[in-house]
Amino acid sequence: MLLSHNSLGWKLKYSLYVTSGAIAAFLVLPIIFIVFLSFGSSQWLIFPPPAWTLKWYIQFFNNPEWIDAAITSLEVACLTSIIATLIAMPASFALVRGRFKGRDYLYSFFTLPMMIPVVIIAVALYSVFLTLGLTGTMFAFVVSHIIVALPFAIISIINSLRLFDKSIEDAAVICGASRLQAIFKVTFPLIKPGIVSGALFAFLASWDEVVISVMMASPDLQTLPVKMWSTLRQDLTPVIAVASTALIILSLFIMIIASFVRKQSNRH
């Protein structure tokens, strides 16, 4: 390659290091900042914190509103992830294996929620669920989150299915397995990394979703990001930093699992 690392002069090399470092810092610093603040003693989120404390964590865990919101978030994200993956699996097979007119358009259609501004989806869903009288229900949360999570699951599963050598499945069929048996015994185990990371991305898409959730929420049922947003509008408390930290930690955990799954799949 023309721009290989070794062929660069030291000036270029170091300016590359500096730029990359700056971009990384730009992306990561706010996250580190907020984690520090969650342990700071200042009511007003002063940085650097004058002293360290766990009292905001105690407040967070002793407040049923925060805990309920966190549990709701988890429930919604889990259900969204499972259902989106279950829908994405047959859809991916149809989009990869199918030979029908308009297949490519259908693929674009399935990924459309990634292109459309979320606020438009949110308003549309809000008006639908309002007329149905379903706002503020778990059903509304899950259905609306599936819409934004589905493209992530589909893209991930489609990619692994495209890389999968179909003749392995055919080999199972000629060995006596029905097409469905072959898919369950051979294809699924081999594209499992794609399915798992699709499910994880769907989980994340739901876990940090805020725009739609704000519309779907009711005082009784809200997700963690919604609770943060509404709290933020009333007063600025370090408990928000605690909630942020909780969000970040789970997201980080999911990302680590996803990269681990991907690494494992490369070993085959």
Partner: protein
């Protein structure tokens, strides 16, 4: 039908009848008729797009024929799905299950058939011994060599005792040396097991090395069927002659039932043909059947009965170790290639006049041909 009639009359194992496959306007397989005998090693040989793989896919059940019939033991396979046909198949890249051990790969067909565990293990062990892979039973396919993978694939395809084994260019991706080793291994395995094998390849050497019979595919049809020896020595048409090995083609004028005119030379033919006098025909002689003699040799050695002789000028002779090839132009401008054992051949200087002899038994005559059939003529 009892068991006795089965052993007495050797009815074909698989029959293809007017088998046809069309994709839109493109005819991939064009009304093929073929009988596959029990226990034989039959190879479908052809270039890509000739219909050989599509035909194999239809036997396996991965493609549905547009029309025609496939019979296995006189029973139609058309409406039987792949997994119920009881056919064994080895794929191009072996297509082993990477997430299973060698033992589980081979046991898979038995597990699907819900064979009882004790019997399953016994059968797997038997076939592991047969293909000499006992020591590798617990390995994953990714830890095997190409040859071992081939044996696992064959073992997996044979463990449920199919009546026929299909192989779709299983050696295509390997280098020449390994390929030849595996070909030998496969031929020995076929001899030992006596199973019917249908093998697809585009490599004529591979077809020759492996098969008892070869079916040569061209544009969706079978244009030659027979043993490699017969197809090579007496090609049924100019395409087969040109496709299988190298060949010299000469346009001649038929002058009698066993004679023809090549420019000013009178040529003896061995074939008794029924072509009308004065029709143009194509004479084919293999390069190794052309003897090249110097002026002196030609004077010393009498022209034997049944032999033809014409003169020519040497363009170039190339020493290839075991053989010597020589390109020669006849006075009327025909280009000929000869190939002879190098030790028996004197040096032939470019520009020198030589005499070319061939036994009329070793030539073939065709009344119909297309220019595209013979364009590959001695290109190697």
């Amino acid at each position: 039908m009892g068991l006795q009639t089965n052993t007495m009359t050797q009815s074909p194992l698989v029959c293809l009848r007017e088998l046809n496959k069309e994709y839109g306007n493109f005819t991939a397989v064009d009304h093929i008729n073929l009988d596959i005998r029990k226990g034989e090693f039959l190879t479908f040989l052809g270039s890509s797009g000739s219909g050989k793989s599509t035909t194999l896919s239809m036997i396996a059940g991965f493609e549905t024929p547009t029309s025609g019939e496939i019979l296995l033991n006189d029973t139609s396979l058309i409406n039987i799905p792949s997994h119920k046909r009881g056919i064994g198949m080895v794929f191009q890249h072996y297509s082993l299950f990477p997430h299973m051990s060698v033992r589980d790969n081979i046991g898979f067909p038995l597990d699907i058939r819900k064979v009882e565990k004790g019997e399953r293990d016994k059968k797997v062990d038997e076939i592991l011994n047969l293909v000499q892979l006992g020591a590798f039973a617990d390995r994953r396919p990714s830890m095997l060599s190409g040859g071992q993978k081939q044996r696992v694939a064959i073992a997996r395809a044979l463990v449920y005792e199919p009546e026929i084994l299909l192989m779709d260019e299983p050696l295509g991706a390997l280098d020449k040396k390994l390929r030849e080793d595996l070909q030998d291994e496969l031929r020995l395995l076929h001899k030992r097991l006596g199973i019917t094998i249908v093998y697809v390849t585009h490599d004529q050497d591979e077809a020759m090395r492996l098969s008892e019979r070869i079916a040569i595919f061209k544009e969706g049809g079978i244009v030659g069927l027979g043993t490699g020896k017969d197809l090579y020595r007496k090609p049924p048409n100019a395409f087969v002659a040109s496709f299988l090995g190298n060949s010299n083609f000469l346009k001649v004028n038929v002058t009698g039932p066993t004679s023809a005119q090549l420019d000013k030379h009178h040529i003896i033919l061995d074939d008794l043909h029924e072509m009308p006098i004065n029709q143009q025909a194509l004479l084919m002689i293999r390069p190794e059947n052309l003897q090249v003699l110097t002026h002196q040799q030609a004077e010393n050695e009498v022209l034997l009965d049944g032999f033809n002789q014409i003169s020519g000028t040497v363009n170039e002779s190339v020493f290839l170790g075991e053989s010597l090839t020589c390109s020669i132009t006849t006075p009327s401008g025909h280009q000929l290639i000869s190939k002879n054992i190098a030790t028996e051949q004197p040096d032939l200087e470019p520009g020198s006049t030589v005499f070319i002899r061939w036994n009329s038994k070793h030539s073939s005559l065709y009344s119909k041909w297309e220019q595209s059939d013979i364009n590959k003529n001695a290109s190697q």
